[in-house]
């Protein structure tokens, strides 16, 4: 292997390169090397942050996990006075509000995505699409304020009595709609979360509906299908993975929502079957109690809650990404 200067001499002697050109090339190689390393380190830092979050959460949660063990997840009591903590109330609150949000948001987002891709005239698509995305841009705390001061009184005065008198009279599910009707509680939190995640699910569904090859839809129209039949029998089966991915993305978002839920969930450390009752979610517990938590066990239990939240959000969002990736792999086909 010739040394660099010997190789340079060979190039110069054969007339392929001049000394100046070789100097420039060497400089550019160095610049490219630095470029690669610098940009690589910035990309690596994003990955390191994720790892750092997981590690710091585990370290912070360790005292509580060691004290309570796996029973932490199933214990109901949350007693700062006696230093006894269990995550079940918060976990149930998070899961139930997010589930209600998903159940309400799924049909509405589907309708919006369907409207924007199939029915909407071309000149209206951009403004309406932007309007739906503006809904996603409204900060979470604004949703909380609107929910507490505008929506909750409406729910307490009209919707909750109505639900209690109709669905509340049925034998099994009546339990979900019983109890005092204060307007704030799990149902209200679920409703606000639904409005918050609708734009996310709608935009993912819309992107996914637009990937369907036109030739498939045109064949169906050619056979005489109505528009609804084309959507139900051609578009939906083709985009199944994408739709499920969008739903899980919305669910992952709903898990982590803090401010909107904190305003309207009522902040009560109680578990009850009724949807009208106040409760707590992981995020709202953290928001309410972290700044003032005193004993190390309290702080550590809050870290443990944060760890649980991060893990379930991570799992759901990863599943969503995987489903959406499998959808975009078909994007290149015509």
């Amino acid at each position: 292997m010739l040394s660099a200067s010997d190789q340079d001499a060979k190039y110069i002697a054969s007339g392929l390169a001049s000394k100046a050109m070789l100097a420039t090339m060497r400089k550019q190689r160095l610049q490219d090397f630095i470029f690669h390393k610098v940009t690589f380190s910035f990309a690596l830092s994003v990955l390191l942050v994720l790892v750092g979050i997981i590690i710091s959460l585990i370290i912070g949660a360790w005292p509580a996990l060691r004290e309570f063990g796996p029973a932490f997840i199933t214990t109901v009591e949350w007693d700062p006075v006696n230093d006894k903590y269990g995550a079940l109330i918060a976990i149930v609150g998070t899961l139930s509000t997010s589930l209600i949000a998903l159940l309400i948001a799924f049909p509405v987002s589907f309708g919006i995505a369907l409207f924007l891709t199939e029915i909407c005239p071309a000149w209206l698509k951009r403004p309406l699409g932007t309007a739906v995305e503006l809904l996603a841009g409204v900060p979470s705390i604004i949703y909380g304020m609107w929910g507490l001061f505008v929506l909750a009184p409406l729910l307490a005065d009209y919707v909750q009595p109505f639900l209690k008198n109709t669905l509340g009279q049925l034998p099994v599910i009546g339990q979900l709609f019983s109890g005092p009707m204060m307007g704030i509680g799990i149902l209200t939190a679920g409703l606000i979360l639904a409005v918050m995640i609708i734009p996310f699910i709608a935009s993912v569904m819309r992107d996914v509906f637009e990937v369907v090859p036109a030739v498939l839809k045109e064949s169906a129209y050619g056979l005489g299908c109505t528009k609804w039949e084309v959507v139900r029998k051609i578009v939906l089966p083709y985009t199944k993975n994408g739709v499920v991915g969008g739903l899980m993305l919305g669910l992952g978002r709903a898990f982590g929502e803090t401010m909107a839920v904190t305003f309207v969930i009522g902040n009560a450390h109680k578990l009850s079957w009724s949807l009208f009752s106040a409760g707590n979610s992981i995020a709202s517990t953290l928001a309410n109690e972290f700044a003032e938590a005193e004993s190390t066990l309290h702080v550590s239990s809050l870290f443990a809650l944060g760890l649980i939240l991060f893990v379930i959000t991570f799992v759901v969002l990863s599943a969503a990404k995987i489903m959406l990736l499998s959808m975009s792999r078909n994007e290149g086909t015509k």
């Binding site: 979050i53 370290i59 924007l116 409204v138 507490l148 995020a283 959000t313």
Partner: protein, 301 residues
Amino acid sequence: MMHPDLNRTATVVDPVVNPAVNPVYRRRLWIHRIGIGLSFLAMSVGLFFLMWILFTLLLKGFGALSLDMFTQSTPAPGSDGGGLINAITGSLMLVGLATLISTPIGILAGVYLAEYGEKNWFAQVTRFVTDIMLSAPSIVIGLFVYAVYVANVKHFSGWAGTFAISLIAVPVVVRTTDNMLKLVPHSLLEAAFALGAPRWKVGIMVRLRAVKAGVITGVLLAIARISGETAPLLFTALNNQFYSANMNAPLANLPVVIYQFAMSPYDNWRSLAWGGALLVTFGVLGLNILSRTLFSQKIPK
């Protein structure tokens, strides 16, 4: 003479050929109409909620907008009047610094992903992680910054708040930059390479420059996102009742002030909360609209 009836052809309408009377078709048509009608309804519901929220903000927040709001600091509990100037200044400082930190990191990371990340497994993993961080709960980011920084220096500060919201802004910028850079056609890059440009010049001066507007959109969207974030600031920057420009101490900021004042029993506090909410929302929406109109990216040819 022919019987008069024989001159007429059959006038019974045949359902097989005429869809208007075919019962199967009529049922399909009705299902279609109901489905499309429900879709219209869903769109209206979405728009209705948007209008309702904006209208509520305007109604309740407009009364609080006054010169006082922009000149006085947040009032003490029980005292009258007051304004939001310390919160506005604090928020501007936090968001401004966070943007300064997160923009270069985000853009350079995005450049790496687009330039070297086509088949590279590290780049795929980073993209995956970035997308997850985009939707990660922001309160957990606040917990992380608390554990790593605040617990060690033993006091809340504006720097901790800046750190926390930069962590939220970086994935937005990375994702947008990466997507935009991938749109640049290869013929443009090959022309630059053919002229003898080194890789870094092609990456920055040709590729990045071609999608300038799209990258700026990404930065504006990140700013819009972090302006409204409350949760990460709750245990990092905390809040400050007085006007202060000291980044190394608790710093007043609009979202946390809104949070504290909204659920309080004082009328002037609640009215200030609505005024602050109006400011934040219309600022965020303005940035969103600006990024979609003024800086909309024409796909480079």
